[in-house]
Symmetry: C2
Subunit: 334 residues, 2 copies
């Protein structure tokens, strides 16, 4: 009986288009497999996502800092950019990013497509320009053929490139975590400790910000509500976008999906372990000191949020032509 | 009739263990799909190959410079190493490298396993140490489990790590090129121009060095036989290994398999196009000036050497633990 209920729930989840239908009524909802609108566009976007030729050096791809082998992040405090520049902020995971209210820690991009154009032209990241990146892609016959088949013409533009990358990123949803299995009705999917952790997570207030399908990503909140956050990271957060002083140190609440894979934590990457992150969040945001056992319970719950990771073949990129602008990895050093 | 012959040849190729049986008697032999001795070990090696945690920065993996999405190379003149150091030599493709007489341009590593340990500990490349790399892998429970299942114990050593990487690299053979189809009896696999290019490739002497299954990789030859090669690259080649003055500017002959994917060419990466590489090789090695048509014919033939590229799922790496030594991407800069 339990199994047939579960099967029904899973079928419902698979057929849903906007979300899986949970058996349980909780402030967290299960992830549903994404409905890909255009598989060909997503396939093209996957290639572009893995292509380091979108960077000036020919060395850095989207996947360099949003590594899909490692939870869609680079597992560094802050990222490495062109010429080994130290990035200003922790690279957020690309997994489930389609569920976010906006993109980047400060939400300065409205959607995935707008986001995708940023790092390509950021001198501290991929250090190319939109004009150069388009020239490169346009010079590669294998890409032009694919643009033709996806968009109906071989014209390459930054809008088309970022639309394809965004379409691919929409596929990067990670359903199937043990927590989602529990939400869908499988009582045995979570251990007692994990359930205790989830209960505490709700009761002590974490869920006020980390809720919804992504357990976060749907609001901006101040980092340091009860107590100010100590950091030497100069990021001002949402205030840089809105210009409002009230938004200083306000950041997009990060998703907790796959959180065991996306260390280190916070916008400055200062918390190396989940234990550290949970204790600091409790103190700074909720004015609460979690005991060692409470911390361990919440961390156990967080480990149940790891879903099905990207499951596709390594893309093979079409080769450059004699007309492709050569990468310039060392041009600015000599 | 032609098709049944082809089928027989293909069947023979598939069942062969050391090489495909060519119908034609040529100085080039077709590639056979590799016989993987230990699939579990190769799977572990694949993860390690893609894991940037083997580098000090946590940013550079084997796949960074031997990118399997791009012909097993980085398509840069010379590679980018730790702290954006400029590498001394062009990164050779890892595809079909198991067929080489030795590894590196100067053959200083006897085999793939010996090679794999080099870049990890090279301060200009991944800049880790064998001790640190072992510590990192040993701290990752998912890896220890896999070492247990592959090697019979969870002990992690640089020997085991490089043995696994080498096992994976042995799988990176690329059969199925149109040229191989032709060698196996399919008359229609090559165009007239490609055949003319191959004939010229043999008759003018290229095949003296670029022969065998990999069209190269099986001997060391002087770069600049008839005429000295002009380069500002300081590499002395084989002499650095043997200490013999006669070996100066002697390098391992690179494979021509998948050559359209592994630009730019030569040990210094100075030739950006195949046309440039063919003309320079003709002049320097054979004292021959190829006409534009001859060059185009040989280049057309070279394009027929692209085989089946790596065909596997993007590996998902096991996450670090709280005990994993943190990457140090910027330690030496501050």
């Amino acid at each position: 009986m339990k199994h047939s209920l579960l099967c029904l729930a899973l079928l419902a989840a698979l057929s849903a288009t906007t979300g899986a239908e949970a058996i349980r009524s909780e402030p967290v909802t299960p992830l549903a497999a994404p409905e890909v609108i255009d598989a060909g566009k997503a396939e093209l976007g996957k290639k572009l996502f893995f292509d380091p030729r979108l960077s000036r050096s020919g060395f850095i791809s989207c996947n360099s800092c949003h590594n899909l082998s490692m939870g869609g992040s680079d597992n560094l405090r802050t990222s490495i950019g062109h010429n080994w520049q130290q990035g200003p902020i922790n690279s957020p995971t690309v997994l489930n990013s389609s569920l976010s209210v906006a993109q980047f820690w400060d939400g300065r991009a409205a959607n995935l497509q707008e986001q995708a154009g940023g790092p390509i032209a950021n001198p501290g990241e991929m250090a190319s320009t939109h004009v150069l990146a388009v020239d490169v892609v346009h010079s590669i016959p294998g890409y032009v053929d694919e643009f033709q088949s996806v968009f109906g013409s071989g014209e390459v533009s930054i809008e088309r490139m970022t639309a394809a990358i965004a379409e691919f990123e929409k596929t990067l949803v990670t359903p199937g975590s043990r927590f989602d299995q529990w939400l869908l009705g499988d009582d045995g999917a979570l251990s007692e400790q994990e359930l205790a952790g989830y209960t505490l997570f709700k009761q002590s207030g974490c869920v006020a910000c980390h809720n919804g399908a992504a357990l976060g990503g749907n609001s901006f909140q101040r980092m340091g509500v009860v107590e100010p956050y100590q950091t030497d990271n100069p990021a001002v957060g949402r205030a840089g976008v809105t210009g409002k002083d009230a938004d200083r140190f306000t950041f997009k609440v990060p998703t907790l999906r796959n959180i065991e894979l996306t260390y280190p934590y916070f916008h400055d990457g200062a918390a190396e372990t989940l234990e550290e992150a949970v204790q600091l969040m409790g103190r700074l945001q909720l004015g609460r000191t979690y005991s060692e056992k409470e911390t361990a319970d919440i961390v156990a719950f967080l480990h149940s949020l790891t879903g099905k990771q990207p499951d596709f073949k390594l893309p093979i990129l079409p080769p450059s032509s004699n007309q492709t602008p050569a990468p310039e990895p060392f041009a600015k050093k000599s």
